[in-house]
């Protein structure tokens, strides 16, 4: 009724008719309450009147006998708990816990009832005198008289631990009872649970798992061991969820992790025939995933896996890229790299939770070993070349993209991207000029990818090549539209006008074309220069192709698809039956190395030998003589005669490309130095080197020696000067 009183101050007094005179009042009232408490403990409460007991307790407190009531309660309860203690001690074997549990339930119920009838004391007397409230008092008395009684304390602990041990070795125990007892310990306060159970429990568990892991590791392989460890871990987690304090989960899992995993980590990873390396080799996704999940729980676990994986990856990768066997077939070489990458990609994806740090390890390993082989850029370009020439025929667009994307990942690992560009340009030029490219879309898509990866500069020339191809087509159409009529039925000419600089042209000596052809070429030249003033045309006869119609001895007719050089040679045989090497060389003026190669493919390749040579041998000698092979047959009407080209570059060619790459790097390094110095004005030597290396990283790894040379050259040309005071400093001269 406190909510709506009239606002007047009242003095509260006790009921007036109860102004006690009877000196025995307190004793008498207490006797009633004491009797009631006995009855409650004896399960005899049904006859008691709550109101009467409450009123008595109320009056005792009101009449300042609270102290008597409280101490009486303590001694009565203690008396009962000691009786209970004796009956629990007397319980035999397995009944011990059950008796304890039953008595605990009884005590709780009695305590509840006592608290209810003594509620008034709980409400007023206890807060005023700072005593322990009834409920807590009951728990404390239980703790001191039962749990901490000498005969019960150790027996309780050993019983609990023994039950858990029995459960660990596979027996079924009464989990409900366990839960009740543990709950009791928790109710008695966190310190009781921790001191009387959790701490010894953790110690015993550590011993158990230490022994068990020792046993397992001696007899199991890594996969089995991990399975066992995982099962143990799950068992403990399940145990906690069934009958322990949830807060214990982290503690007990730590124990299992430490004893079963952390202490044996290295031994597990390096286990012979079944360790991490074997799992990687055999693609054991499940085992690897288990290892990842378990090791993740312990400090340094994942880094251990990662380190082993990285070193394994680097070793196998190193073997792969330096294996001379592999180097014979660039396409196979790159395919191997791709397979290896796919394999580890899948492992990281399936077993390692797509962990970023593992992906980084994978990337850095690839970067490490791909660049161990200086020919990697060339091979990757060759791989693309192969794919775009034939590999992707009949493959759906999505698959093409997939292959290209994979190639791009390898490309990203390259340090010498400019070398790749060089080769790629060469290969692309060959593809475009010979019309061998399978899909224009695929070509363009790759260029777009390269562009996003390395910027406009990287691909501008490549794109220029595509533009040239398109313009040439238009030019040819216009040329034939203008002059088609006067040309008649003779040979037709297709010219591809290539912009100097965009294409990897080799300075080549033009050969002497057959008269008919040169006339045609002249016509085109005058037409082209007529429409485009201020340009110069040179013929790149080393890059062209020709289709010839030939009739052989017995009248077999074939269409021969040959290179321009081969065409020049073959046309000579229209007027002669026998020509010596020297004669051919003189008339055509084809450079001797090219001529040898072209003759080799005309005379020495089985099934395509339209020429015959004397003496019969594999190689072309300066003294050889050549005849038309009248017996030439082929089941096809069209015969393609390839030039014997080494797909891979030969040693001198490699040197040459290398040299050109080095040449091309010089201006780039200089430009980078100038850019940096322009903004910094003054900088010391080491810093310049770092900055330049960083700027050029996306294209190649600059050599410090080379940077130094470039700086010297810039000093000579008055772009930079050394500081007069401090020789290490360089100054930019605007």
């Amino acid at each position: 009724m406190n909510s709506n009183q009239k606002k007047r101050v009242f003095q509260i007094e006790a009921f007036k008719h109860k102004v006690v005179v009877d000196p025995k009042y307190a004793d008498k009232t207490w006797k009633i309450l004491e009797f009631a408490i006995h009855e409650i403990y004896n399960h005899n409460a049904s006859g008691l009147s709550f109101e009467e007991l409450y009123r008595n307790a109320y009056n005792m407190v009101l009449h300042k006998f609270g102290e008597k009531l409280y101490s009486g309660l303590v001694s009565t309860m203690t008396f009962h708990l000691q009786e209970i203690s004796i009956s629990i001690e007397a319980a035999q074997g397995g009944l011990f816990l059950e008796e304890l549990d039953r008595k605990w339930t009884d005590h709780n119920k009695a305590l509840q009832m006592i608290r209810d009838i003594l509620m008034y004391m709980d409400r007023t007397f206890i807060p005023n005198t700072h005593k322990t409230p009834v409920h807590e008092l009951g728990l404390n008395l239980w703790r001191d008289n039962i749990i901490h009684s000498g005969k019960i304390q150790t027996r309780l602990l050993t019983t609990l631990l023994e039950l858990i041990l029995r459960e660990r070795i596979g027996e079924v125990i009464n989990r409900g009872l366990m839960r009740n007892i543990i709950k009791m310990l928790m109710d008695l306060g966190p310190s009781v649970y921790q001191e009387d159970f959790e701490k010894p429990f953790l110690e015993v568990s550590a011993d158990f798992y230490r022994a068990e892991s020792q046993k397992f590791i001696d007899c199991c392989d890594c996969g089995d061991y991990l399975k066992k460890a995982e099962r143990r871990l799950n068992e403990e987690i399940e145990r906690v969820s069934h009958y322990l304090d949830p807060k214990s989960e982290i503690k007990i899992t730590n124990v299992v992790e430490k004893e079963m995993i952390e202490n044996h980590m290295l031994r597990l990873v390096h286990m012979e025939n079944s360790g991490l390396v074997n799992m990687l080799l055999d693609d054991k996704y499940e085992d690897l995933g288990r290892m990842y999940n378990l090791f993740r729980r312990v400090p340094n676990g994942l880094s251990t896996i990662r380190d082993v994986m990285t070193s394994h990856l680097r070793n196998t990768g190193k073997l792969l890229v330096t294996d001379p066997e592999r180097l014979t077939d660039p396409v196979e070489f790159v395919q191997c790299l791709l397979n290896e990458r796919d394999k580890y990609d899948k492992i990281i994806n399936l077993a390692f939770n797509n962990d970023k740090s593992f992906q980084n390890a994978l990337n850095s390993s690839f970067e490490f070993f791909i660049n161990l082989n200086p020919r990697s850029p060339e091979f990757i370009s060759l791989f693309v070349d192969d794919k775009l020439r034939k590999g992707l025929k009949g493959v759906s667009e999505e698959d093409v993209e997939l292959v290209l994307d994979k190639v791009m990942t390898l490309f990203r690992y390259l340090q010498e991207k400019d070398v790749f560009e060089k080769y790629y340009k060469q290969h692309l030029a060959k593809r475009l000029l010979s019309g061998k490219t399978v899909s224009d879309d695929a070509e363009r898509s790759l260029i777009v990818k390269l562009k996003t990866e390395c910027g406009y500069q990287f691909t501008s020339k490549l794109e220029g090549m595509f533009t040239d191809m398109k313009t040439s087509q238009d030019t040819m159409q216009e040329f034939y539209a203008a002059h088609g009529a006067e040309l008649g039925d003779g040979a037709t000419l297709t010219v591809q006008v290539l912009t100097t600089g965009s294409w990897p042209t080799q300075p080549s000596v033009s050969c002497d074309l057959p008269a008919e052809m040169s006339a045609l070429c002249e016509k085109f030249r005058s037409y082209y220069l007529g429409t485009h003033t201020g340009r110069r045309l040179t013929w790149q006869t080393n890059m062209g192709t020709a289709d010839l119609k030939a009739t052989f001895g017995k009248g077999q007719r074939h269409e021969l698809n040959v290179s321009t050089y081969q065409m020049c040679v073959l046309v000579l045989f229209n007027n002669a039956d026998r020509l010596s090497y020297k004669e051919i060389e003189q008339t055509t003026e084809i450079p001797s190395s090219d001529l040898k190669r072209c003759l080799q493919s005309l005379a020495c390749v089985k099934g395509k030998n339209v020429l015959r040579k004397e003496p019969m041998s594999k190689d072309i000698g300066e003294e050889d003589a050549f005849f038309v092979n009248d017996k030439f047959t082929s089941k096809f009407y069209k015969v393609k005669i390839g030039t014997v080209v080494a797909q891979k570059e030969s040693e001198p060619e490699k040197q040459e490309t290398r040299q050109r790459v080095e040449e091309d790097r010089k201006p780039q390094i200089e430009a980078a130095i100038v850019r940096i110095m322009k903004s910094r004005r003054v900088l010391d030597h080491n810093n310049i080197i770092t900055e330049v290396t960083k700027q050029l990283q996306s294209r190649f790894l600059a050599n410090p020696g080379e940077i130094k040379k470039r700086m010297e050259s810039l000093i000579e040309r008055d772009f930079l000067e050394r500081d007069t005071a401090d020789r290490r400093l360089y100054r930019y001269l605007a």
Binding site: M1, K6, I12, K18, S46, S49, F50, E51, R55, A110
Partner: protein
């Protein structure tokens, strides 16, 4: 009204008030009497005797129980108390923990 949902409160003079358990439980003391785990006589018979509370006061108390339920459900009205009852009523309130 079912018997289990009601409780009988008996005054010092023997007057019986039968009210809803829900209303009676506005008093913390009565609530404990009716819900304590052991089966006390009050729980078994569904009646509580108050030898120290007079009929007038107990009636007022019962009125207050119902008023309090209404007040708690948001109906804010005045609860009138005759001045001469105030003292005894407050002592009963202390006893009933209301």
């Amino acid at each position: 009204m079912k018997k289990e949902d009601t409780v009988k409160l008996i005054s010092a003079e023997g007057f019986e008030f039968v009210i809803d358990k829900k209303a009676a439980m506005v008093s913390q003391t009565i609530r404990n009497m009716l819900t304590s785990p052991g089966s006390f006589a009050e729980t078994e018979h569904g009646e509580v005797t108050f030898p120290e509370i007079s009929t007038v006061i107990l009636e007022k108390i019962c009125q207050y129980f119902y008023w309090s339920l209404q007040y708690a459900s948001g109906k804010e009205t005045e609860f009138h108390i005759e001045p001469e009852l105030t003292l005894e009523l407050m002592m009963a309130a202390n006893y009933l923990h209301t």
